[in-house]
Symmetry: C2
C-alpha cells in the first residue's frame, strides 16, 4: 500500500488566507509543531465576557484507543491545565448534538527559528513554524485514560521523566489533576524558512545594498546545565543529560539549516 499523507479538511475558519504558499494541512507537520512546543496557547469563550480568553497549557497529541499511533495519524490533543468545571459543564450542556460534546477551542503553537533581516523594514520577517488546531475540549473522566494522558504529557516535557519519578500517582494526585481531551475538527500550519527576499528595486539600489547587512539570525530554545534542587540526589541522570544535549543540538542545527535553506513544499 502506498504511503498516504493525511491532511486536515479545509474549513472556512481554518484556511490560511495570507501568504498561502506557506500553508500546510499535513497532520504529521501540524502534530509535530504541537508536540515540540513547550507551551500551547488555548483560546475559548467565557460566558458574559466580551473577550475570548487564552490560557497557556501543556499538551501532547495521542491516541488512547491506539497508543502506538504515530504523529501522522488521526490523534486527540490531551491538555494539562485547569479550566473551571463550571465552564466545562456549561459547555457540555449546551451541545446541540451536531458536534462533539465540549468547549469549542482553538489551540496554537509557534516556534521562532530565525530573525530575517532584510534591506527594508517591510521585507523583515521571521523563520517560523506555527500551527493551530480547532476542536472540542472535554474533561477526561476515565481514570485509566487520565493516567495515559498524564504519562504522555510528562514524557512530552522530558522523555523518561515519568518512569524516573515516583509513580503511579496516588489517589489524591489522580483526582486533583485535570486533563482535557480535544477532539480535533481541523487544523493548519504555516512555515517560513530561508534567507531574506527583498524587492528587485532595493537589491539593485547601490545606496541600499552596499550598506545594509541582510541575512538570518538563527533562534532556538536552549537548555542550560541542570541545577539541582535542595533535596536531590547528586548525580544528574542520563535521561536528563541526554535530553539536554540532544535538544540543544537538534534545535541549533534546525535554526542554522533554515537560515539558508528553503524547505520545499509539495505543489498542490
Amino acid at each position: 500500500m502506498p504511503h498516504v499523507e493525511l491532511e486536515y479538511p479545509k474549513q472556512p475558519y481554518g484556511t490560511v488566507k495570507r501568504y498561502s504558499p506557506r500553508a500546510t494541512y499535513a497532520l504529521s507537520t501540524i502534530h509535530n509543531i504541537i508536540n515540540t512546543s513547550p507551551i500551547l496557547h488555548v483560546s475559548f469563550n467565557v460566558p458574559e465576557s466580551p473577550f475570548p480568553t487564552i490560557l497557556p497549557m501543556l499538551g501532547q497529541m495521542g491516541s488512547y484507543a491506539r497508543p502506538s499511533a504515530d504523529e501522522g495519524d488521526v490523534l486527540d490533543l490531551y491538555l494539562h491545565g485547569y479550566v473551571s468545571s463550571r465552564l466545562m459543564n456549561t459547555s457540555r450542556d449546551a451541545k446541540d448534538g451536531s458536534s462533539p460534546a465540549g468547549l469549542p477551542v482553538c489551540v496554537a503553537a509557534s516556534h521562532v527559528d530565525g530573525l530575517v533581516m532584510a534591506l527594508t523594514p517591510n521585507a523583515h520577517s521571521y523563520n517560523y513554524r506555527s500551527a493551530v488546531l480547532f476542536g472540542h475540549a472535554a474533561l477526561v473522566e476515565d481514570p485509566a485514560e487520565r493516567l495515559y494522558a498524564m504519562e504522555l504529557i510528562t514524557n512530552g516535557v522530558v522523555p523518561g521523566a515519568w518512569s524516573n519519578t515516583r509513580v503511579p500517582p496516588n489517589k489524591a494526585e489522580l483526582s486533583s489533576t485535570s486533563v482535557l481531551k480535544v477532539t480535533v475538527a481541523t487544523g493548519s500550519a504555516k512555515i517560513r524558512s530561508g534567507p531574506p527576499a527583498d524587492e528587485k528595486h532595493d537589491r539593485e539600489d547601490a545606496g541600499v545594498a552596499d550598506r545594509v547587512w541582510t541575512g538570518v539570525i538563527p533562534v532556538y530554545r536552549a537548555h542550560g546545565e541542570p541545577v539541582a534542587g535542595p533535596y536531590s540526589v547528586a548525580e544528574v541522570p542520563s535521561y536528563i543529560t541526554e535530553y539536554v544535549n540532544d535538544a540543544n543540538e537538534g534545535a541549533r542545527e534546525h535554526a542554522v539549516e533554515t537560515a539558508t535553506k528553503v524547505l520545499i513544499k509539495k505543489v498542490d
Copy 2:
C-alpha cells in the same frame, strides 16, 4: 511624589483564579513580558465559526501621544499582522458605544524559563512568565501613527533595525502594511520561579528521595551566529552582534537565576 506602580483593574474575565499567589497585575511586569516575546498569540471570534481563532503576530506596547512613556505607563499595544478588513469593519460596525470601537481580542505572551523536575509527575512544573491583555483592536488609519508603530515594532525585534535599513517605507509599503492598535481594557500576568516543591511525605520517603534527581533545567531563547544572505555586505554590523551577545547573556542569566531564586511577590 512617591513612585506609584500602576495595576490593571481586576475584571471577572481577567482575574487569575488558579495558583493566584503567582499572579500580578502590574503594568510594568505585564508590558515587559509582552515586549520581550518574539511572537504574540492574538485570539478573536470570527463570524459564523463555532471556534475562536488565534493568529501569531508581532507587537509592542507604545504611546503615540507620548512616545517617551515607559513600560510601566498606560500604553496601547501595536500589532503587525493581517486581519481581514471585512472582519475589522464588521467589528467596528457592531459597536454599541459602551466600549472602544474595534474587535474584542485577547493577546497572550509566554516565556518558559525552566523545566522543574520533581520527585513526582504532579509536582513537575515550569518556571515561566505569562501575560494576557484584553482589549479592542482597530486598524490604524493615520499614516503618521502607522509609521510610528512600524518603527516601534521593527526595533522591538532587534534594536536599531529600523535606522540601519532603507527607510522611510515608500508609499506602496506604507499602504500595504496593516497595523492594529489594541486599546487595553485589562490584563494580568503569572510568574513561577525557584526550585521544585514536593510534598513532605515524598521528600521524607527514602525510597523516593534517594533515587530521584530534582531540580531545574534552565531554558532560554538563544541566538546563533548571524548567517549572511545572498546579497549582503560582508561585515555583520555592531547593532546586530551587540544584540545577539546581550540577548543571549541576559536570557541565560535570567533562566539560571530563577532556577534557584524565588522572585518575591509583594503581599496584597
